[in-house]
């Protein structure tokens, strides 16, 4: 297909040292076909990323050679399994700029990591004075943003209900950015915790974390960052960001499903009450009561997701091998190309920032037919699927954003390190096809 307008200079320029066609060979699933020999055009990486051979091989090798439970055996396999599991902790710590490996806690996913902090805060009620930072009750406030994924909204709504605290939020501007005009009025002295998304999964917006963290610090509030959509796509350094906690998930960064990460500042984790109780998180147990292990094990009750953690280690190695700055530059180029290309589709309206400035490669939009009638995203997704193009449709677990923009749902195309501009072209052509189908 042809696109009418020449692109902005350099918008789709290939990134030096990053050969996307070579990279794609690392991902076996990208070579498969769907619906009778159509090439797969996978534009749903914000939902989950595909996995490279390195990750698949690491998981398989773990089970073939080293499988044992961790932290509790004295035999060879147990020691090897423990070493592999703990090696990922070191890799993750280095990957996000953490100064101490004990700051990295493995969870099931981002959702569990965020719930861990929220439940620790209500558990502070029955903990000693060392947990004062986490105590929250009536009159206290919790602040989130209007663009949170439900996983960073519902746990805080539940915390507010359990403790009598009040939930407040930072609203959005019409182009899908945070409205910081009244930041000081939203984050006040009553605020105990600010939890916000780094990059929105529905709008693609990358938020100005530093500014909000600065205000939260002024009032002594804890800060939690949901990095589910940022850590997989560009360099994230916890020291630079200045947050207290960072939650992210393995499966969006080329690792298996089933493993997420909570990073927390050591001095906070050391006094934070546990969330889940059980094996491995204890120090001394009697029938009357127990004392708890120091972090990170205090927050890793029960047998963990060992093979997935091993796979996560391989994924981190893979990302470092390609280079996070190179990945970010590639995705930025594809995103800029896609924003230009989507603008050529009649009746298409982007929900979120229309320019590639401070925005990532998750692009939501709504579409109308020739008569200006809305074509429902569910229908858009179905017809794209028929062409082998995988997108996500719905409210993307961020229903308040749909309400804010007065749309029932959106279609979302999302990119990753293996996405090509050719796939963006296929999407644009597919969208023309959708409009033809519903305008007939």
């Amino acid at each position: 297909m042809t696109l009418a307008e020449p692109r902005a200079a350099g918008a789709a320029a290939p990134v030096l040292g990053f050969d996307v066609e070579q990279v794609r060979k690392d991902f076996p699933i990208l070579a498969r076909t769907v619906h009778d020999d159509l090439p797969l055009v996978y534009l749903d990486s914000a939902a989950t990323s595909q996995k490279p051979y390195a990750v698949l091989d690491a998981e398989r090798a773990y089970y073939e050679l080293h499988n044992a439970n961790v932290h509790r055996g004295i035999h060879v396999l147990a020691e090897e399994a423990t070493a592999l599991y703990e090696a990922t902790r070191d890799k993750v710590a280095a990957f996000i700029g953490a100064t101490d490996r004990r700051e990295v806690v493995f969870t099931k996913n981002s959702t569990e990591a965020l719930n861990l902090v929220a439940y620790a805060m209500s558990n502070a009620e029955t903990t000693g004075p060392e947990a004062d930072r986490f105590r929250i009750g009536p009159g206290d406030e919790i602040v989130v943003t209007e663009m949170e994924h439900h996983s960073n909204l519902v746990p805080w709504q539940m915390l507010a209900r359990r403790t009598g605290a009040t939930l407040r939020w930072i609203g959005l501007t019409d182009d899908g950015r945070l409205n910081l005009d009244n930041l000081d009025a939203v984050i006040t002295d009553r605020c105990k915790v600010v939890s916000m998304v780094h990059q929105s999964n529905i709008l693609g917006t990358i938020n100005p974390v530093e500014r909000i963290v600065a205000r939260a610090r002024q009032v002594g509030a804890l800060t939690v960052l949901d990095g589910s959509q940022s850590v997989p796509h560009f360099p994230v350094d916890v020291a630079e960001l200045g947050v207290d906690f960072l939650a992210f998930t393995g499966h969006k960064m080329c690792a298996p499903t089933g493993v997420g990460i909570l990073w927390g500042r050591l001095e906070l984790l050391e006094v934070m009450p546990p969330f889940l109780g059980g094996g491995e998180m204890i120090e001394i147990v009697t029938m009357e009561g127990s004392t708890y292990a120091p972090p990170p094990h205090r927050f890793e009750a029960g047998t963990p997701m060992i093979s997935q953690v091993v796979g996560l280690g391989a994924a981190v190695d893979y990302l470092i091998g390609l280079g996070m700055p190179a990945i970010a530059a590639h995705e930025h180029a594809v995103t800029a190309y896609a924003l230009d290309a989507l603008a050529t589709v009649p009746g298409l309206r982007i929900i979120g920032p229309p320019t590639p400035v401070d925005r990532g490669g998750a692009i939501s939009f709504v579409l109308t037919d020739d008569d200006g009638r809305g074509i429902h995203p569910h229908d858009v997704g179905q017809i794209l699927d028929e062409r082998g193009i995988a997108v996500r449709v719905g409210h993307h677990c961020a229903r308040p954003v749909c309400l804010r923009f007065n749309v029932p749902a959106t279609t979302r195309a999302s990119f990753h390190l293996y996405t090509t501009t050719g796939e963006v072209d296929a999407l644009v052509e597919g969208l023309h096809g959708v409009r033809r189908f519903f305008s007939r």
Partner: protein, 169 residues
């Protein structure tokens, strides 16, 4: 094109020109049902007189399948005895759970047989069922206002949604 088996012209016609749309008075019960995964919503009213479905009116938002299904359903059940209409609902549910193996009885289901192709798409079955479940719920409330009917999409749809994705023909 395979999609034509789902997007039958009859479905697209109902989608473009829905029947019985708009909320009307009088009514005996009103319900609001949602499909949380895709954001489809329907508000639906039922008026029942002497064991007969006198009117079904609705406002809905959603995809072509869910919109067309509300139109077809309301046209089919209005004027029927409640028992008869409930029997049609069971037949439609069975058709939607058939994974593409049933055609439906056109003499009884009329335009609703056009949705047979939808049953091959597990993710879309709940779109087709949304308004039917809302109607069933509203009718139960209209007949016995004290009953908190369990006729929600969540209660009715799981069997249909268990179809593995790979079984798409």
């Amino acid at each position: 094109m395979k999609l034509d088996s789902m997007y039958q012209e009859i479905i697209l016609d109902h989608y473009r020109n829905p029947l019985h749309r708009g909320l009307r008075d009088p009514f005996d019960a009103e319900v609001h049902h949602v499909n949380p995964t895709c954001g489809d919503e329907v508000t639906l009213r039922v008026k029942v007189t002497g064991g007969v479905v006198e009117d079904v009116s609705y406002e809905s938002e959603g995809c072509s399948i869910s919109q067309a299904s509300a139109s077809v359903m309301s046209d089919l059940v209005i004027g029927k005895k409640i028992d008869e209409a409930l029997e049609l609902e069971r037949e439609f549910l069975a058709l939607m759970q058939s994974r593409g193996t049933a055609e439906g009885d056109e003499d009884r289901l009329e335009d609703a047989v056009a949705f047979a192709g939808v049953s091959k798409y597990p993710a879309r079955v709940k779109c087709a069922l949304l308004s039917w479940m809302a109607w069933k719920d509203a009718t139960a409330k209209a007949v016995d206002p004290a009953s908190a009917a369990a006729a929600t999409p969540a209660a009715a749809a799981p069997a249909a949604l268990d179809v593995p994705e790979q079984e798409k023909p």
